[in-house]
């Protein structure tokens, strides 16, 4: 806040190369701000620019590309998990990809959420780009990405369509559950734990009931309950993000 002082050439102690104080009517501070604006500016990458145009909001696009579960490391980790599932499926015939995909999505979606991983959470609640919008866009993109990865990994020749695509339904349910838990408890970790635990319980109960795991992802009987869970949890998450709670 003493910066302006230096700009008027008050520093006689420096050996100036040429003579001359800055003329009184030249505003060097304004000049510096113009230089700094150019030098300090960040140029968004192509993904962010595209997202900005598609979402019609540069702020929303920036919030999207800074999603923790959309960072390159996370995406690569998800891809590796699903690739491992694919290899395991080829080896054993058990549809591991179908089993892993919902878990991967649940984790990714819980980690799109704020408290616990977003330090500037409180401030984000006062922004013109509402945090709910940010959350919605993040969740949709993470889900779409994980679905795409899952589809790529499960496109094994000869596999039944129900297995290839069937896991999308439980994935939706488990992700919604993870999100609802995260928003209710205001903790991303709680959301991940809930999602993974629920899915594990589901798979294990199906296996103990029928001796196989495939029905967990392929049975059409389970589709309505899955969807019901997805819708209910979605509503809970929506409601939980309406009024942020405070402690002071």
């Amino acid at each position: 806040m003493t910066f302006g002082h230096e700009m008027t050439g008050d520093r006689d102690d420096l050996p100036g190369p040429g003579q001359g104080r800055c003329p009184r009517d030249v505003d060097l501070h304004r000049v510096w701000l113009g230089v700094a604006a150019e030098v300090w500016r960040r140029r968004p990458g192509p993904v962010e620019r595209l997202a900005g145009r598609a979402l019609r909001s540069p702020g929303l696009a920036r919030a999207l590309v800074t999603t923790p579960s959309l960072l390159l490391g996370w995406v690569i980790a998800s891809a590796i998990v699903l690739a491992a599932g694919m290899l395991a499926t080829l080896g054993t015939g058990t549809p591991f990809v179908a089993l892993f995909a919902p878990a991967v999505a649940a984790a990714g979606i819980a980690y799109a959420y704020g408290p616990g991983i977003d330090p500037a959470w409180e401030l984000s609640q006062s922004m013109a780009v509402s945090y709910r919008m940010v959350l919605l866009v993040r969740v949709l993109v993470v889900f779409a990405l994980d679905a795409a990865l899952g589809l790529a990994a499960s496109a094994a020749p000869g596999a039944a369509a129900a297995v290839t695509f069937g896991w999308l339904v439980p994935m939706t349910a488990v992700s919604a559950l993870a999100l609802a838990t995260a928003t209710l408890t205001r903790s991303a970790n709680a959301g991940v734990a809930a999602g993974l635990a629920a899915w594990a319980i589901m798979v294990l109960s199906v296996r103990s009931a029928s001796g196989q795991v495939t029905p967990a992802v392929a049975s059409s009987v389970l589709v309505p309950p899955y969807l019901a869970v997805a819708v209910a949890c979605g509503a809970i998450a929506w409601f939980a993000t309406r009024i942020p709670k405070g402690t002071s």
Partner: protein, 184 residues
């Protein structure tokens, strides 16, 4: 840090070096530009010049002088600016100095050169000093040595040696337009 080190740091992407360089040099560069440009345009030219310096820092060779380098960039930007505005934008004084309606190849360059020349002339000494007088009589008014000797009341030999000195001073001032910490 000395200016050379600052420019090297700038080449490495250190924006705080640019900030320091700006603090040191922008004032005198502004003073140099002001006679040939209005204040608002001095600001614009300076902004473009320092951005050009930021981008071109890698091309700086330490055996040049930092001040000279910066002035070189600035005068180019000033000439660009003047050229862009067209002849109507040039200060009247510049046009008037080319009396007789002689067309000038590049009025923009001429304007900037005029600023440099004016400063070199100032380096000859204060107004009315012996050197300034010789400069004015011999090179501006184009008089002969005999006439100058008569007008100033000194022997012709003295006039000749003063003229020689003036040429020396002007030559070195124009070749190296900027003094750098006294290492002339």
């Amino acid at each position: 840090m000395d200016d050379d080190a600052l420019i090297a740091a700038m080449a490495d992407g250190d924006d705080t070096a640019l900030r320091e360089l700006f603090a040191r040099h922008a004032p005198w560069l502004a003073a140099r530009l002001r006679p040939i440009l209005p204040a608002a345009e001095v600001e614009d030219v300076l902004q473009e010049s320092f951005l050009a310096a930021w981008r071109g820092a890698r091309g700086y060779r330490p055996q040049g002088t930092p001040g000279g380098w910066l002035w070189g960039i600035t005068r180019r930007q000033a000439a660009l600016w003047l050229r862009r505005r067209g002849p109507s934008g040039l200060p009247l004084a510049v046009l008037a100095s080319h009396g007789g309606g002689q067309p000038v190849a590049d009025p923009a360059e001429a304007a900037v050169s005029r600023a440099e020349l004016a400063e070199a002339v100032r380096a000859l000494g204060p107004e009315g000093s012996a050197m300034q007088e010789v400069w004015r009589l011999m090179y501006v008014e184009d008089r002969t040595v005999t006439e100058v000797a008569g007008l100033t009341g000194v022997p012709e030999g003295t006039v000749k040696s003063r003229a020689h000195r003036v040429r020396q001073l002007m030559r070195s001032a124009l070749r190296q337009p900027v003094r750098d910490g006294g290492e002339r």
